[in-house]
């Protein structure tokens, strides 16, 4: 395979795995609690400097809860000095007027606040832990008052998707410039909670119709992204537009990943920015090469005319569902293991209920027990 000359546009910095919330669909790894050796501010600055030289133009800061780090304005200021576009994604509960002003001073470009539902009680129940809904609304208003373009992030699932109209109205009322309505991606924590979270087909279709009508109505005022759930589609999503192609993630403890979920894939070794430069990791590390391009694809992908559109789908989903990260994403209707998806959809229609497993340190440890 010839040397890939592609360079990443975007770097996701997961500044910490600590979080006051416990959302049962969190994208952090199941074993997050044992990766607690966080990079310091100077290490993050070095990573950002290397990233900019590598071609990264956008730095996205998330967590866990990134506002748990007192040095966040300093890290963002450094990213802006490198002329990176900076985006901060927060659960909102820790945002204060003073901190919003400091982030503005650091020239943060864009702020995203996650809210779990338009219904306060339901939002609190889904986020787990101490009540957070009112604090999230306040954070969204503080962000607007400080002059930030605001994105509201709402993860959709069977327990809140029926309130999509109220969610859109809430985003309008808060003055959001963007609303991201992303259906739950069933990897990691979300897969453990799939029976409780997977919507029915009727729910998905109804929500899509409402979202599309709102997109037309609000055109030019508020942008609405509605990400359709891949379980209900004929073909898989082009995960990250290809492995090691446009995106990379550096985790709280400095592990460099092609995608934030990838560290769950056993058998792949991911390198750490404490041991190796980001440029080397991107171009020559085994983990970034492994699924880059299309040469590695198995059948039925290899002879499929869509292979350069979806790259065989999501590697993490293939691994989670089939235990083989090399497999065709089962979400594809052509996958030999598509039965894994259709079975889940059948269960969704019959409505198997399940108690939520919250994402917290105790569950993180418990899930690792044999």
């Amino acid at each position: 395979m010839k040397m890939e000359q592609t360079r990443p546009y975007s770097l996701l910095c997961e500044l910490t795995y600590r979080c006051p919330l416990q959302c049962p669909y969190c994208s952090n790894p199941i074993d997050f609690a044992r990766h607690n050796d966080e990079l310091g501010a100077d290490e993050w600055k070095r990573v950002l400097t290397e990233a900019a030289a590598l071609g990264v133009v956008q730095a996205h800061f998330s967590g866990g809860e990134p506002l748990l780090r007192a040095d966040i304005p300093e890290i963002i200021r450094h990213a802006r000095e490198l002329d990176l576009y900076t985006n901060l994604s927060t659960g909102g509960t820790l945002l204060t007027e003073k901190l919003a002003a400091e982030l503005r001073e650091a020239e943060l470009d864009s702020l995203q606040v996650s809210i779990q539902d338009a219904d306060g009680t339901e939002s609190d129940r889904m986020a787990g832990g101490a009540p957070s809904f009112e604090k999230k609304l306040r954070a969204a208003r503080l962000a607007r008052a400080a002059g930030f373009p605001l994105t509201l992030n709402v993860v959709l699932h069977r327990q809140n998707i029926g309130r999509i109209e109220r969610i859109i109205a809430m985003a309008e009322e808060l003055g959001a410039e963007r609303l991201e309505l992303a259906n739950t991606q069933f990897n990691g924590w979300a897969l453990k909670n799939r029976a409780a979270l997977i919507p029915t087909r009727a729910q998905v279709e109804q929500a899509a119709a409402i979202a599309h009508a709102a997109q037309q109505r609000l055109k030019g005022r508020m942008e609405i992204l509605y990400v359709r759930p891949d379980y209900f589609e004929q073909y898989p999503k082009p995960c990250l537009n290809g492995w090691g192609r446009m995106f990379l993630t550096v985790t709280a403890d400095g592990t460099a990943l092609p995608c934030q979920t990838a560290r769950e894939i056993t058998g792949l070794t991911f390198e750490n920015v404490r041991q190796r430069s980001l440029t080397e990791i991107w171009f020559v590390s085994e983990s970034f090469q492994k699924f880059r391009g299309t040469d590695w694809l198995p059948e039925p992908c290899q002879s499929c005319p869509r292979k350069k559109m979806d790259f065989g789908g999501c590697r993490c989903q293939a691994f989670f569902l089939t235990s083989d990260a090399n497999a065709t994403d089962p979400a594809c209707s052509l996958s030999p293991r598509h039965d894994l998806i259709t079975q889940a959809l059948t269960e969704a229609e019959t409505g198997a209920d399940q108690t939520l497993i919250y994402r917290n340190a105790v569950e993180s440890a418990r899930q690792l027990l044999p």
Binding site: V57, Q58, N87, D109, S110, Q112, K219, E223
Partner: protein, 92 residues
């Protein structure tokens, strides 16, 4: 959606920013979770969308630059597309 008026003063949306990408040698438009690689024409138009110049003035500037007075329709189409995607504000 209403047509772009001659008196409108187009400007980049708060969330959007232009950047010269020295690594790739391209002009980019950056926004939350996205990047648009701009062709030279789109970049020249966006550079003039500063919230002070009117649409009429932008057309005049570009027309003089290219010695071409038939560009209005094309520029309007590009700006309208960018406005529909919320990258540019054209109201008022």
């Amino acid at each position: 959606m209403a047509d772009i008026a001659n008196t409108s003063r187009p400007r980049l949306a708060d969330k959007a920013r232009l950047k010269w990408d020295a690594v790739r040698g391209k002009h980019l438009l950056l926004f939350p979770e996205g990047v648009l690689v701009l062709n030279p024409t789109a970049h020249e138009i966006l550079e003039l969308c500063d919230g002070h110049r009117t649409f009429e003035e932008i057309i005049k500037t570009l027309g003089e630059r290219y010695q071409n007075n038939t560009i209005e329709g094309d520029v309007k189409e590009i700006l309208q597309k960018l406005a529909d995607k919320n990258f540019v504000k054209v109201d008022g």
